[in-house]
């Protein structure tokens, strides 16, 4: 059964312990940062910062809303990054995580072009190239950094004091999300981000403001693949695309515009 995480943005208090917990578990060093007006440094994910919480101020009439949005690899059900990976380093596991084998990564960075969430980052590899770095959903086939393979929640979920993160089977999380929306009329926009977007993602979001205002992309799966493909030679890209996705284009699930 594929796993997922339900991120309830109405509960997040913006404490960012998820950010530190990720570094604490994965042995990731601190960045050197400077003042950021919105208090949410690092200002972007990096090779050593796989998740970050971005702060949004949303003005609604006289009222200001302050919302905190944790972002990381969404572990798409049909990951564009995996689709465009030329080396086979990136794989989608049956349990949900999209992971990569650093030894295979050739540093082509196509995955960056393909990812609609802009998540892949790169670090220097052993042979002068670059190697992909991103959230691996605390799943590690090598065992060193494995949590979910050992039945534990990801480090960020484990740390969250606000109860904003819930780890479990994706279909049960969807059920839980629907139940929360139903139980609190007006408390949420009637939309679960990631249920269908990009063909569905393992990480799912609930919010009380429009996902458009929180920087979530509403694009199709194929647009990501296409973006990566523009960097290939036309012939190679065409052959690869036809061989891999013949007949599927018609079924592509485009990102649904939110129902809110």
């Amino acid at each position: 059964m594929p796993k997922g995480v339900l991120v309830d943005l109405t509960k997040c208090i913006g404490c960012r312990s998820c950010q530190v917990a990720c570094k604490q578990w994965n042995d990731l060093p601190a960045e050197t940062e400077y003042f950021a007006n919105t208090w949410d440094t690092p200002i972007d994910t990096t090779d050593n910062t796989w998740t970050r919480v971005k702060y949004y101020f949303i003005q609604e009439g006289k009222e200001v809303k302050w919302r905190f949005v944790k972002r990381q690899c969404m572990h798409c059900l049909r990951p564009a990054c995996v689709a465009v990976c030329t080396s086979g380093a990136l794989i989608k596991t049956p349990d949900g995580p999209v992971i990569f084998d650093a030894r295979k990564c050739t540093g082509c960075t196509y995955c960056f072009s393909a990812c609609p969430f802009g998540m892949p980052r790169y670090t220097s590899g052993n042979w002068g190239g670059v190697v992909l770095q991103k959230c691996r959903f605390c799943f590690d086939t090598q065992g060193t950094y494995d949590r979910i393979g050992r039945g534990q929640a990801p480090a960020c979920v484990r740390a969250c004091p606000a109860g904003a993160l819930l780890f479990g089977e994706r279909d049960l999380l969807l059920k839980e999300a629907r139940a929360r929306i139903a139980a609190a009329p007006g408390g949420y926009v009637n939309h679960i981000y990631g249920e269908t977007e990009l063909g569905g993602t393992s990480w799912l979001y609930l919010a009380d403001v429009s996902f458009h205002d929180l920087g979530f992309p509403f694009v199709s799966f194929l647009s990501g693949v296409a973006a990566a493909a523009t960097r290939w030679t036309p012939v190679a890209a065409g052959m690869w695309f036809v061989s891999k996705y013949r007949g599927e284009a018609a079924e592509d699930v485009t990102g649904r515009e939110g129902g809110e």
Binding site: M1, S17, K23, Q24, T144, G151, A153, A159, G163, K175
Partner: protein
């Protein structure tokens, strides 16, 4: 549920049962994969915490009093997480709590854990007009401090005040203590200071 199972259960859910309030009990049971209900699989040789020692502590920052588990190998802290048995924080922690290892052990650019280079770990002395610290040993420092305490106390000692009341005090020594020290430490310090006749005593609670 016994202790071990409850702990693994919480780890899996991440949040404790209250978070899943909207799922009924049957669903909750199925939310747990079979493996988690019994035991966690044996850790592979490469597992991050395979050789780590677990120690229970209380967070030294705000007044919440959260339970913290420190995982250490030798004298390096290799991981920190909230104590899942602790009724206040239930396994969670804020960013300061999670980052507790930084005070002793930091992760360097090569993603290796090394001793914090910012810690001051030596007894130091700065002489009058000096422009740098000099390294000293404990015996020297304690002896020299003791001499200064005695000299200051003895030269400013008030045995009786102007009304002839025995006051046994010095006003020339002051102590600003700390709300970060343990109870037993604060107790000994207070006792020592009163023993010496110090009345200028204060700490964070005033501020």
């Amino acid at each position: 549920m016994d202790k071990v199972n409850r702990r693994e259960f919480l780890k899996y859910l991440g949040l404790g049962m209250a978070a899943l309030a909207l799922l009924d009990e049957a669903e909750l049971a199925t939310a747990l994969p079979a493996a988690e209900k019994s035991t966690t699989p044996a850790a592979p040789a490469s597992y991050k915490l395979r050789r780590a020692k677990e120690t229970r502590s209380i967070c030294p920052y705000c007044g919440c009093g959260c339970g913290i588990i420190l995982f250490s190998e030798g004298n390096r802290v290799v991981y920190v997480e909230g104590d899942p048995d602790h009724p206040i924080n239930e396994g969670t922690a804020c960013p300061k709590g999670i980052a507790l290892s930084d005070v002793n052990t930091v992760v360097n650019r090569s993603r290796k854990r090394t001793a914090s280079s910012a810690r001051f770990t030596k007894v130091l002395y700065r002489r009058p007009g000096g422009q740098y610290w000099e390294e000293k040993d404990w015996d020297w420092a304690l002896r020299e401090i003791a001499k200064r305490v005695k000299k200051t106390r003895d030269s400013t000692f008030e045995e009786k005040d102007e009304n002839g009341v025995v006051v046994n005090r010095t006003q020339a020594i002051a102590h600003l203590g700390s709300a970060s020290l343990d109870n037993e430490e604060n107790y000994l310090l207070h006792k020592m200071l009163r023993g010496l006749g110090v009345i200028n005593i204060d700490h964070h609670a005033r501020l």
